[in-house]
Symmetry: C3
Subunit: 264 residues, 3 copies
């Protein structure tokens, strides 16, 4: 686990270009900014190449897709592939909405993603494994999440982050797990979107090792959330959202090292 990547991230302040979920976009922008990256969002395909030119990584989020936005993702994804820029893909709700699964598969057929970050229901759907998803939530499927994540990684030749109470990170062969976290992530809408964009930020500073970048991103967010939650005497999702932004800015590598609970 390369926690020192957090220091590198803060030194390099990489630009992360997000094609975003409009529900959670402000929180994601603030979270990226707080952790040490520089967020930029764009909805206009005409500036795609210029956005790519200044970006260190791209995050494509299906959360509030439209056909116009999916077209933009196709073009941005192709440009990012040409320039070998890391791409993180967040297939929001593909486990519950067949239309979205089709859109995701179409994108995956033409774009080489660097990392796919989803919950168990979403990753299972992409891997072609049965699971009970519910709306934007993971649902309560049973199954071996490690096997599902590995199958998905092998199918799409990329790193998978299957996030949940334990995050599973795999490139299809190697597997890492991050056990940190807090139930408050589930109570705050957009925790998954934020994780995807933070993974993108770490791939920007470690583009030759996305498996390492993804693990570190998971530990940084999950560990920071855990540190925040420890201060709480009751589950307060609104206060958690603000405190998480605070702590993403303030957290140190040594604080994270102390709390870190992972297998790699």
């Amino acid at each position: 686990m390369k926690l020192d990547l957090l220091t590198t991230l803060r030194q390099q302040n990489p630009v992360v270009f997000n094609i975003a979920n409009f529900v959670t976009v402000q929180d994601v922008a603030n979270g990226l900014n707080a952790v040490g990256a520089s967020p930029i969002m764009s909805a206009e395909v005409a500036e795609a190449d210029q956005m790519i030119a200044i970006a260190g990584a791209v995050c494509l989020n299906l959360g509030t897709l439209t056909t116009t936005q999916v077209n933009q993702m196709q073009i941005v994804g192709r440009l990012a592939n040409e320039r070998q820029l890391p791409i993180v893909f967040d297939p929001v709700a593909v486990g519950a909405v067949p239309y979205r699964l089709q859109v995701a598969q179409d994108l995956l057929a033409t774009i080489q993603m660097t990392v796919i970050r989803g919950n168990a229901g979403e990753i299972a759907a992409l891997a072609g494994v049965d699971w009970q998803a519910k709306g934007i939530d993971a649902g309560n499927g049973s199954g071996d999440v490690v096997a599902i994540a590995k199958a998905c990684a092998q199918k799409y030749h990329c790193v998978i982050v299957l996030s949940g109470p334990t995050d599973v990170i795999t490139d299809g062969t190697q597997v890492a797990k991050v056990h940190n976290g807090t139930e408050l992530f589930q109570l705050h809408v957009g925790s998954g979107d934020l994780l995807s964009s933070i993974v993108a930020a770490f791939t920007a500073v470690q583009s030759d090792a996305p498996f390492d970048a993804a693990q570190t991103a998971c530990l940084v967010l999950a560990g920071t959330g855990e540190l925040v939650a420890k201060q709480f005497t009751a589950p307060r999702p609104g206060t958690f959202a603000a405190d998480l932004i605070d702590k993403l800015h303030l957290v140190t590598v040594s604080e994270l090292t102390e709390v870190a609970d992972y297998e790699d």
Copy 2:
């Protein structure tokens, strides 16, 4: 007043499909999540039928309408009517902007709404009664808000929630009032949008009695806001927004019963 519906809501965790106001969408999603529902937003008409298939209720919000979005609302509304799914309609700013009043009337001509939730200026405009609205605010009209709400309910054969310092809920015959609340709701943009989506969440678990569902929703939000505001020594709209999300998650039926101030 069926406050036990809050327990039902938290047990059933209904999916509320929102065609949303992009200004307030994150707050609405977090509020729905906190109270015990599962929010999903969509901007793409091609997934309308699949969203309807997983939803327990629909909320249509005119806050940042476009012709594309209004077309989506027409299709979603028709599908929801076919499946007898409850629909809550939020006619943002129809009291101040004639174009929006026309859009609202066109939607109401083809879709049977279950509940319409608006402020006095908006409900008066739909009812065809004079009132002085101002932008997105209710304005300072004078008039009998109960009579206006009843006229609107009779005109559109649905339940009306005319929200304000006192919320008036009517199906055109029966009238309930919720006196709880706090002036902080006016200081926080999106309080009305959140109420509309919470009304939708309650109609999802009490679809055969939308008058009851709407009353309970009003009391849950107004009562929760009042409980939060009681802790404040000064009006702090930013802190209120976060604390309201916290308390929507934490509030109990017995706390609400104790503070409840209503007529039904």
Copy 3:
């Protein structure tokens, strides 16, 4: 420095019509509401004339431009010019993205802006001066920001607000500076967007003296942020966002007078 304009603003509660950056729109709406204005957002060109009719000022923000939105800006800008309504223009990222610089120049060629509010990188780009911008951030150019702001004001015949650690306000001849502020503004995404909309709110109540309006707006926001930051023992960008909204509502003219640090 006319700090009494804050009292006027709160009495008149002007409607500010925003064509907004969807990343930061909720925060901007809440900030406008808190300071004493009435925000309204619209994305539909068909209601442009009716929005203009109820507005006291317009704010055009390029943050998440699309060709559709730029077309809406052209029409809204022309209507606002016809009615002599103040327009504030926020040229987000024109220093880093050439496409946006072209869009901004096209808008400036047909619309007479009242105020342009940008960071050093953005104002330098509009003025045609070299500067190193980075994404949405100002970058670390060197140069005389007063000279750059004056050149830009003379080029576009309007008031320039070049915001940063020191805000420079100029109409091309007169120059004012506001030294108040806090580094927390840089840590919170959307501080610039909020300033632009608050400038618009002040131009609505002082439309014959936009240079005065802009100065006051800068001092109100920077001074309020400084008052909030003084309470902090560590830089907490999430808490700052909420506390800033609180304080924009609560701050008094005498508190601001006491902390004010400016040249005019």
